[in-house]
């Protein structure tokens, strides 16, 4: 079964093209790495998936349907930098936000919900921190709380934007363990990643991206010297250069 299907997707920021005619499919039950150099459009792709950005042409479907119809089955974990960590809120309340993804924000929170949220926290090893203020946590702990929130939503597809950024080795390992468990439960995970050294260990599939889709498929087939050269080598330099050019031409500078 196909979980994500992307067809001829092009996305622009203002007038600068960021993704060009991207086209791929992701089958069910895999841990998929979304890999590419800085500015390759990895986060853009995820944001387009969940409707934060509107494509200029093409589109994507999940479980064969548009995002709005299956939103409850898709959990999104944003980059840590997009959040106000000084906001007055406790860890458990952050996790409980996962329920809004599941059934809308106007329902009252019940005792069972708190119990479920605590279970999710326990699964990522953060239960002792349940009543801590969110700003007291380290980067890795914040990331785990985010994962717990996604777990509470009980989605079938998890989209994660750089969950390993600024996270220590122990946390990375702990997160991976949970990811593997989720995969074994039949869930699909799409993870934006930029550490090339760990790609082969972490992922079953790789989407290699540099504005265009370079390749998509099982790690062994896609993560080759040749493809990496295309994404990161001197040929890729032209992609960056032309993007800069279009930005200056279209904005009239």
């Amino acid at each position: 079964m196909t979980v994500v299907c992307v067809e001829q997707l092009s996305v622009h920021y203002d007038k600068t093209p960021v993704l060009w005619e991207v086209d791929f499919e992701i089958p069910v039950g895999l841990i998929v790495g979304l890999v590419g150099p800085n500015g390759a459009g990895k986060s853009t792709l995820l944001k387009t998936f969940i409707g934060l950005l509107r494509p200029i042409s093409g589109g994507c479907t999940f479980f064969g349907k548009p995002y709005k119809e299956v939103q409850k089955k898709v959990a999104y974990v944003p980059q840590r930098t997009s959040v106000d960590w000084n906001f007055p809120i406790h860890v458990l309340d952050v996790v409980l936000m996962g329920l809004y993804g599941k059934r809308g924000p106007l329902k009252w929170i019940r005792k069972e919900d708190r119990a479920l949220a605590k279970q999710a926290l326990d699964r990522v090893g953060m239960l002792p921190f349940a009543s801590r203020q969110i700003s007291e946590l380290s980067g890795g702990q914040q990331q785990r709380v985010f994962l717990a929130r996604a777990l509470l939503q009980d989605a079938d597809l998890l989209l994660m934007d750089e969950p390993f950024a600024g996270v220590d080795m122990a946390t990375e390992k702990a997160l991976m363990e949970v990811f593997v468990q989720l995969k074994e439960e039949g869930k699909t995970l799409v993870i934006v990643h930029h550490d090339l050294t760990t790609v082969k260990n972490h992922f079953d599939w790789v989407i290699l991206l540099n504005s265009c889709l370079i390749d998509c498929g099982p790690v062994a087939e896609v993560f080759t010297e040749e493809n990496l050269k295309k994404a990161y080598g001197s040929a890729a330099y032209l992609v960056t250069e032309t993007k800069k050019l279009t930005r200056s031409k279209t904005s009239g500078v």
Binding site: I89, Y100, P105
Partner: protein, 405 residues
């Protein structure tokens, strides 16, 4: 105390000021969390020309509805200010602070110009308008209370019903969009509520001082709270309290003190008190904790010097503190002080071993250890011992005391 709520002259100003404090304390929280507190300042000034025009139009066409016309005028002109700010930021790419200042000064200037144009022809109107500059709670009647009460109630109910939305929207805006919250609609409602709070406040603190009521209560409340709900409730309550106390002080005072500035001053005083004295985030408790730690370091250094039989700097205060802790008697170590000193030396040397283990040169580790001996916790000590396999000597071949094999 009770007379403020019963006396027919006092009750309207008192209740009106309290309603104002509640509404602005509550709504101010949301601007505070968006780090856009200055929007309140700009919009309250932007409301002023609306006050003037509202009065002029109402006085000319339907003299019965002057109060209502002023409120509607203020509301609309504030919204126009908001629209201009938004357009300047979005379309002209003008920095937010510049756009806010522009709207603040231009709108306020226009208001002042029209008002002074009325000076000679309609002196009575001008008087009515000037009430809204610095506020004059004393001129409020019972009728006003129902109007302001209704508007405040609308603010409170909106915040309660939107509570979860507001929480997600302010904490994690991207997630809010991902789960399909109507972010734009909620933002629009927020700005409308902000305008309502300003309109409620104009009469008691005036457009000039209004922003203090939007900023001071949230800043104070944030010092004491770690949850969104308690933050909102406390901020509203502090606004309410400022409204009451400001009013009471201006009544109790011997010289005639104006109510609006008194309320703003009370709110600011509460805010300053919180900034200095709140247990977790306050300036003074932080200072005390730092000083306390520094004193402990000094005492521990004396302890170490005694342990190593070196001469000490006999600071009488520090020695007195150490005596009360039972670490020394006279100037000799007690058994307890001895084991405390042993612990310090152990941590110092363990840390040196650790740094050498991590690849540092052994002659460069002393400095770091001088600091870490005061900081390392028993848990870290256990971890260090396990990691280094219970060392008995430091890198300088000195014994590590108190390690049992």
């Amino acid at each position: 105390m009770l007379e403020f709520f019963v006396d027919p002259i006092l009750r309207a100003p008192t209740i009106g000021s309290m309603l104002m404090g509640l509404a602005s304390g509550l709504i101010g929280c949301l601007a505070f969390l968006q780090k856009r507190s200055l929007v309140g300042e700009a919009l309250s000034h932007a409301a002023y020309p609306g006050v003037v025009l509202g009065l002029v139009i109402a006085a000319a066409f339907f003299p019965g509805g002057i109060s209502a016309a002023i409120l509607v005028g203020a509301f609309l002109s504030g919204l126009l200010g908001l629209f201009v700010i938004h357009q300047m930021e979005k379309r002209l790419k003008i920095a937010s602070d510049a756009a806010l200042c522009f709207v603040l000064s231009v709108f306020f200037g226009v208001g002042v110009c029209i008002a002074s144009g009325l000076q000679i022809s309609h002196a009575l109107w001008l008087q009515k308008i000037q009430v809204f500059l610095l506020g004059e709670a004393a001129t409020m009647m019972d009728g006003h209370i129902f109007l302001y009460g209704g508007l405040t109630l609308a603010c409170v109910l909106s915040v309660i019903s939107l509570f979860r939305f507001l929480e997600i929207l302010h904490f994690d805006p991207e997630y809010a969009k991902a789960v399909n919250l109507p972010s734009k609609a909620v933002h629009t409602i927020l700005y409308i509520l902000l305008m309502v709070a300003i309109v409620v406040g104009m009469r008691s603190v005036g457009v000039v001082l209004m922003s203090s009521m939007l900023i001071a209560p949230p800043s104070a409340a944030r010092q004491w709270t770690t949850k969104f709900s308690s933050f909102l409730i406390l901020s509203g309550a502090l606004g309410l309290l400022s409204g009451f106390l400001g009013n009471a002080l201006s009544v109790w005072s011997l010289a005639p003190l104006p109510t609006g500035p008194m309320i703003a001053l009370v709110a600011t005083a509460i805010c300053l008190f919180s900034l200095f004295f709140a247990p977790e985030r306050g300036f003074l408790p932080k200072l005390i904790r730092v000083t306390h730690f520094q004193l402990r370091c000094k005492q521990e250094n004396i302890l170490k010097a005694l342990y190593k039989k070196r001469t000490i700097n006999p600071n009488p205060y520090l020695l007195w503190r150490m005596r009360t802790k039972g670490w020394i008697k006279g100037e000799k170590l007690t058994p307890e002080g001895y084991s405390q000193a042993e612990k310090l030396v152990r941590l110092h040397r363990l840390w040196e071993v650790y740094l050498v283990h991590m690849g540092q040169e052994s002659d460069r580790v002393h400095h770091s250890a001088e600091e870490m001996e005061h900081i390392l916790t028993p848990e870290i000590e256990i971890q260090l011992q396990a990691l280094l396999d219970n060392p008995t000597q430091d890198p300088h071949q000195q014994p590590i005391p108190g390690v049992s094999r």
